[in-house]
């Protein structure tokens, strides 16, 4: 694990903040919503039963919180382990640290996400922070993904993901 106490955030890295990735489609289907709901052990029928969800005023079954659809998987263009898109463009950071931790997740909702929605996601580097730790430094990298409903053009959610490199 790198313990480079000399590491600093460069102007080149700061210049990557706000650089948008190319868009990628995320699908929200009845099957994917049910699978995610099973994955989190929810038994709430709002995530499983279309008729019930409609009786409660929703378009279809409701995506559990934290689920913003499944990125369309294209072999060679999608990470086979994590499932996220490997896109052209977007920020490129030359981070020297080898250790990586998930720092946090935050979602801001502007609408309910339901099965049948197709979301168009773009992401950008939102923030870089460097902190000291015993024996070295930690770089906090926050990316923000914006999800837009393809049919309505409305932004439905923004998700901020923070990774910790050390």
């Amino acid at each position: 694990m790198t313990t480079d106490t000399e590491f600093q955030i460069t102007d080149e890295m700061k210049a990557q903040i706000g650089v948008e990735s190319e868009p990628w489609e995320y699908e929200v289907t009845t099957t994917s919503v049910r699978m995610y709901a099973r994955g989190i052990a929810s038994e709430d029928p709002i995530h499983y039963d279309v008729d019930f969800a409609k009786s409660q005023g929703f378009r279809s079954i409701v995506a559990p919180l934290g689920y913003v659809g499944t990125p369309v998987y294209l072999p060679g263009k999608t990470d086979p382990t994590f499932g996220f898109p490997r896109r052209e463009g977007g920020p490129r950071l030359n981070i020297p640290f080898k250790g990586l931790l998930d720092g946090g997740t935050e979602t801001e909702y502007f609408d309910v996400i339901c099965a049948g929605d197709v979301l168009v996601e773009t992401s950008h580097l939102a923030d870089l922070k460097l902190r000291d730790r015993p024996g070295g430094k930690m770089l906090f990298v926050t990316n923000e993904a914006v999800y837009t409903n393809k049919a309505t053009g409305k932004v439905v959610a923004k998700m901020r993901l923070t990774s910790i490199h050390m």
Binding site: G39, S42, F82
Partner: protein, 145 residues
């Protein structure tokens, strides 16, 4: 889903109903399938990365814990309320087959922009009571009026 909570029903300091889960390997495999995160760190006890970390058990996905916190927040909002935002920090690891409990407390209720908003501190803690996944959320609740 329990009965709909209304804005008039809640007060500062009120605790949310707890959610308890002890994720076994099958549960984490289900989450891998649902989320698309197939990192073996979460389901393969022989994954080479575990040993250098001093671990003999798989680590629960951070996003699994985020979703558990989300279940508590969604339960507060109910079907007629709306979750405005919720976020967590991952401060500690939780391990396979160890109990995780989600707790929460209402920290504020306010009216803003025509909405009845409720702020909560909400977190997941491990079996020793350590808050491994602290967070906050804001939900808009319907009014009885």
């Amino acid at each position: 889903m329990a009965e709909q909570t209304h804005f008039e029903d809640v007060k500062e300091g009120q605790e949310l109903p707890e959610i308890t889960i002890t994720p076994d390997k099958q549960q984490l495999v289900k989450f891998a399938a649902g989320s698309g995160d197939f990192n073996p760190l979460h389901f393969d006890e022989n994954f080479p990365m575990l040993k250098p970390m001093g671990l003999t058990e798989n680590i629960v996905h951070g996003r699994f814990k985020y979703a558990q916190v989300g279940r508590a927040v969604f339960a507060l909002a109910g079907y007629k309320g709306r979750v405005k935002n919720f976020g967590v920090s991952y401060r500690g690891m939780d391990l396979l087959n160890k109990t995780i409990t989600v707790k929460g407390v209402i920290t504020a209720r306010r009216q803003e922009g025509g909405e009845n908003l409720v702020d909560v501190d909400v977190w997941a803690e491990d079996a020793d009571g350590k808050k491994t996944t602290p967070g906050t959320a804001t939900v808009a609740l319907p009014s009885r009026g």
